[in-house]
Symmetry: C2
Subunit: 186 residues, 2 copies
DNA sequence: GTATAATTTGAGTCAACACTCAAGTTCTAG
DNA sequence: CTAGAACTTGAGTGTTGACTCAAATTATAC
């Protein structure tokens, strides 16, 4: 797993896996389907990955990482920035957004690894949103800030969930509306 | 499929199917698992159902029906009633709520039947919420009412989605917060 | 240029899946 | 009581899944 050819093959396999999870769901993502799409045979897949699970986990990691833009600047974004970044993520990286939502549900069932990863990421996201709210409204209590952040993040996931089912759904409009609402009456 | 024994077996199979989809997801819901849990052998399952798919569809129908409380009184609920009924549904009929969220995603992928059913149900739910909003705020434009209803319904699904992952998540608090927010600034 | 390690091949293994069926058992109407 | 229909049994079918492996091929370092 060191030569150029191997790394390229690895890439093609991950691309195929990502596309398949997004379009067919976890069930449709078989080794055969991945290999067909990547132009590779099973033996080659297993030369590069220990298991199907490992390839899927790599894609999950991609999806989770892709949601958090600019993690270096942690702490300086406004709430509006965070929402806009999320809208951009859902629209521009549709496949990864689908993977994220799909795995959050199907994957977290009996897979502690995926479940833990998803939950931890959720906590981090809520904390970041809470920090942004707090910066914007320093007078708000911590509990209230936390609650508003959590409501907002889960509501955003709902928007993404609906987008997965209906490609015509206007993510931007509804996500921004949530932003407005989330700070209403303060 | 007419004797008492048959009807009872049918019931036990549907119960087992529902519990399995809720706890294990669609993948874990195998004929063997269903039969084990229902105390039945495969032959008996296939005496009562044409396919695994048919049993699952029956459970989906149950889940969708269970969300809409009191469909007779369509048109007279307040928005608060609708939210409260939904909170009650998610908490008291956790299994069906899990089935609903899970199927909305995994199931709708390559199953037009489930997808159509879910989408139609969503439309109906948005319409009902929109009617309630409109009753409460007759001055609001139709477009605005519709948009707020849609944001609210998708956000509520997000709350349910999170509840599926985290049983400690306080559905009531966040759902009611959404209600407050949804009508903020009017 | 050659040795060595990485990669690819593709036939093959084994388990689990949805589903079938002929034979037995139980129910219930008349 | 009886006849026929409904129900149950459980071994069996064919398919597809993830994964393996020895042999052939290709890339890279020296």
């Amino acid at each position: 797993m060191r030569y150029k050819a191997g790394l390229e093959t690895r890439d093609r396999i991950l691309q195929a896996t990502r596309a398949l999870i997004a379009s067919e769901g976890l069930d449709g993502t078989t080794i055969k389907a991945i290999c067909d799409q990547a132009g590779v045979l099973p033996g080659s897949f297993y030369n590069l990955f220990d298991s199907k699970e490992q390839a899927i986990l790599s894609v999950v990691r991609q999806a989770i990482d892709a949601i958090d833009p600019d993690p270096e600047h942690k702490g300086i974004d406004t709430l509006s920035d965070l929402i806009d970044a999320y809208i951009r993520f859902v629209i521009e990286q549709e496949d990864l957004a689908r993977v994220y939502i799909r795995l959050a549900i199907s994957g977290s069932v009996n897979n502690p690894e995926i479940k833990g990863r998803t939950m931890r990421h959720h906590q981090g996201r809520v904390a970041r949103f809470a920090a942004a709210i707090s910066r914007q409204h320093p007078e708000m209590s911590d509990a209230e800030t936390e609650r508003r952040a959590e409501t907002l993040v889960t509501a955003l996931n709902g928007v993404t969930l609906h987008r997965v089912m209906d490609p015509d759904f206007d993510v931007a409009v509804h996500a921004r509306a949530l932003l407005t609402d989330a700070l209403a009456g303060v």
